[in-house]
Symmetry: C2
Amino acid sequence: MRTSIATVCLSGTLEDKLRACAAAGFDGVEIFEQDLVVSPSTPEQIRDLAQELGLTLDLYQPFRDFEGVEEDVLADNLRRAEAKFRLMNRLGIDTMLVCSNVATATIGDDAVAAAQLRRMGETAARYGVRLAYEALAWGRYVSDFEHAWRIVELADHPNVGTCLDSFHILSRRWNPEAIEKIPAEKIFFVQLADAPELSMDVLSWSRHYRVFPGEGAFDLVTFMGHLVRSGYNGPVSLEIFNDVFRQAAEERTAVDAMRSLIRLAEQTSIHLQETGAGETAMELSTLPGVGEPLGFNFAEVKAGDPETIRTLLYQLGFTCQGTHRSKAVELWTQNGARVIINSQNARGLEPGISAIGLDVPDALAAASRALQLKATAVPRRSQANEEVLQAVAAPDGTEIFLCEAESGGPGWIREFGRGAPVPAAGPITAVDHVNLSQPWQHFDEAVLFYESTLGLTPRPSVEVPSPMGLVRSQVMRSSDGAVRMALNIAPMVFDGSGYPQHVAFACSDLVALARTAVARGLQFLPVPGNYYEDLDARFGLDPEFLTVLKDLNLLYDRDADGEFLHFYTSTVGNVFFEVVERRPSYEGYGAPNAPVRLAAQYLANG
Amino acid sequence: MRTSIATVCLSGTLEDKLRACAAAGFDGVEIFEQDLVVSPSTPEQIRDLAQELGLTLDLYQPFRDFEGVEEDVLADNLRRAEAKFRLMNRLGIDTMLVCSNVATATIGDDAVAAAQLRRMGETAARYGVRLAYEALAWGRYVSDFEHAWRIVELADHPNVGTCLDSFHILSRRWNPEAIEKIPAEKIFFVQLADAPELSMDVLSWSRHYRVFPGEGAFDLVTFMGHLVRSGYNGPVSLEIFNDVFRQAAEERTAVDAMRSLIRLAEQTSIHLQETGAGETAMELSTLPGVGEPLGFNFAEVKAGDPETIRTLLYQLGFTCQGTHRSKAVELWTQNGARVIINSQNARGLEPGISAIGLDVPDALAAASRALQLKATAVPRRSQANEEVLQAVAAPDGTEIFLCEAESGGPGWIREFGRGAPVPAAGPITAVDHVNLSQPWQHFDEAVLFYESTLGLTPRPSVEVPSPMGLVRSQVMRSSDGAVRMALNIAPMVFDGSGYPQHVAFACSDLVALARTAVARGLQFLPVPGNYYEDLDARFGLDPEFLTVLKDLNLLYDRDADGEFLHFYTSTVGNVFFEVVERRPSYEGYGAPNAPVRLAAQYLANG
């Protein structure tokens, strides 16, 4: 699959954009007209830079408001088009995107549109230019890709073909099956965009909210299946108008974009096998397939001064397994819950979550897959006699370690203390979930990262009010719930840093654990009395049980699947801990209680 | 008019919110349930604080999903309601908002809903509580305020009335005229919200995009007219769910909110007079009416080192009129364009726009009006023998001077130089417009500020792409165009500061001025060659004219009303200048050229 991307997807100058696309591994780019118009570089300089970077220039776009006009307007449009054909010759681009007329069309007659496109095609032919006519979802007379194709058929000129854009097709719910009826050689170009399910006018939706494939709600795999079956073998190009991507660092956005196409190619390939498609013209690269993660291997907190974290873990019933034999790193465990406190090169650093270890069926395959999906490898820090661990950086900088699942616990534990784990029983059984705040510019990237590299599935997102604004929370989950990551966008005031993150531990007896913790002096996050009155009004709880909850600062929720008890520790630096008990199969995270936590944390830091 | 506001409109703790509401001058507040639930203060403490602050607690809200349910659910709902009535007694609140059921209703029968509300009313009566039943726009069976009123009529209980919410009525385009048919004593509460015209699902629109009256597109004046004519005389309360207000400083948001109600009361009063309403129960305060501003009196640039600004003004043909007789302030003029360079207490300060002077028909009345609209007065710095100028601070901190329009120019000019203006002729005639960037948290506030205090009218806003993201631009304009202010929201990376602002001068012969400026060594903002090629493709310009534009770095636009020529200087600190020529009645600001400017400025700051 030839990969391409429109320069409008990215921030920066045209040169910045080209460099970012090349670095991310794209084969080519579409030049968005305005990016060239505002550039001080000549067309020849842009052509040369692309060549130097190994990028093909696949499309010049967009040419607007051409067809369906009166003769005098047409003459001016042809003059305007010819100026652009000359420019395209200088750029070395042979395909132009022609959008269906939205503004100046006055004649809603296919024969007229076709004849006018044919005249444009005749002029284009003199410059060696091909025209890819596309139905915009809000075109004046032409908004359906099949309609655009009928006009192209009528135009009947070798230099006039069609462009298919998944947004314009799927946003209007046109059936993409008809793509297979278009002769592949008349599909001159294909643009892909995904979008979240939003009920708003299609123009605003298109101009502000498009996202890369896999980050939205469109079924692009089925779309791609039809495209491949049509015999199309040209560029598959991303054209994403997104207010956030426009503000984000272009190098990162380009990598996010490339990852989305690699993942889509894999999914398309699987889809085609499943639907029994035979030989196809388009080659679709595949990736090492790996199973879902099986559980949390460990969570790592980095801290200049480990003492406050040690105290919290002790109060929660964890046992120290000793320090690492070669690093300033110590291990605390309780049954299957493992926390590493890392003070290596951390002088003066406030405590914060620095790494997560996940058990995977095949660590080498998982790491290879992540790297092929453009994840950044984390330099290994192990010595010759130590366990070799695979790790990649998540979009927020957290290190994700991919650990071989081993019966009897991870081998690396032997590198701590006396090499044999000290028994550490207690009601905490494992890590239940990890909650990481994400920079607002990279939230969609994070969702795609965890989905594509680790096979976690996004759950419906929720918005939680806090005294500083709404917090958006998106859970990514393995199918059996053994791995759950909650990704948050914090209010703007944090600008992606300093917002506390947390590790939540699963517990078989929360009340008993809380009592032990009280005895050991744990600072619970205080829960207001009004909360318990409201809880009682909502659930009509047993008064004794309510008193227990209130005395211990425990939070409570209930749904059709069961009950949920949980509490939070106070925050140390940028990290706090939560302990949860699911009775027995409550699936949520106590979302109704999240505003209580956020308000209490606001007050505590106030 | 009794003013009230829901605590959910504001950020911070419940105490922060109450203090902000009191400081802004509200008579009362609605307690949003969740704000109380997350508060560590007891209901009694909240009641006492409100009393101490002189605020009435007007409404407890919302109570959800009560009516239209099976008998067993009703029993639980009544238990839940009674717990809240007890709580309201402790708070000293006698009215509860009951929203039409969205989640648990299974019976779409008005008689059932009415009977159930009646039973709720009977319980409420025992606690001295009144129920204000409101149709949510997305209610399961009840979404129309007239329908809610019919159910209240059927319920026929003195403690059951209705609540009217302008959002739920106007978002669904229900006709508010029917308000007049509801007996005033059965309207227990009124909530007001405005909203921009957005084509999205009504729930998302309501939860994220509500704004204060006058900041959106709803006709709240007509709505208020019906309400006043109904005889209603209770609180008029703001309930605004807005993602941005939730993140903004609560003191400012509360002032913005209060300003919106003061302005709405004035407009309603005028509307009632115009429509011939007689005596009404509700008293509507009025404000000193003032005419629109007649023009720009001056623009002030504050700079630690005035030299770079002096040079720019000299290059643009301005003449220095000398320094102020008592301050480190100098005046530069060219015909009716006056620029003050202020270096008073400005050591080390980068140049930036600090003040704008506007000619108004009655400066004292205008200042009085602005202060009654909660504008902050700027401390006067004049001495006994100097002109006394009225000034208020705009939401972005710019000082707005309200100057008495005088034939023969402003009197304060005599305080500069030798007291008599030096002739300063040239093609620049006046200030055409001023472009100020606004903090993203206070954009709606700024629009309302300029509309309500100065009578400027918002024009349709535009979004302009830049290499760092979209810039939203909103022009506020006097009806004859003599005063035009463009308010911009800069990309997030600026976070409201450091984004360049500018003063644009009107000019009768831009080409001549540009030539003079070239001769005087002006650094023009460079315009790329690609721009001129595109301009030619779009407009088919005379080649000689195109060469003139290109040689002088002039930008060009054309529409049905005429032509627009303009150029920009390079940026000094946070300010630059633009010169524009309108041929003859072009009304815009060269929006198609804005991306060229933004890209060139991005490169220049590289």
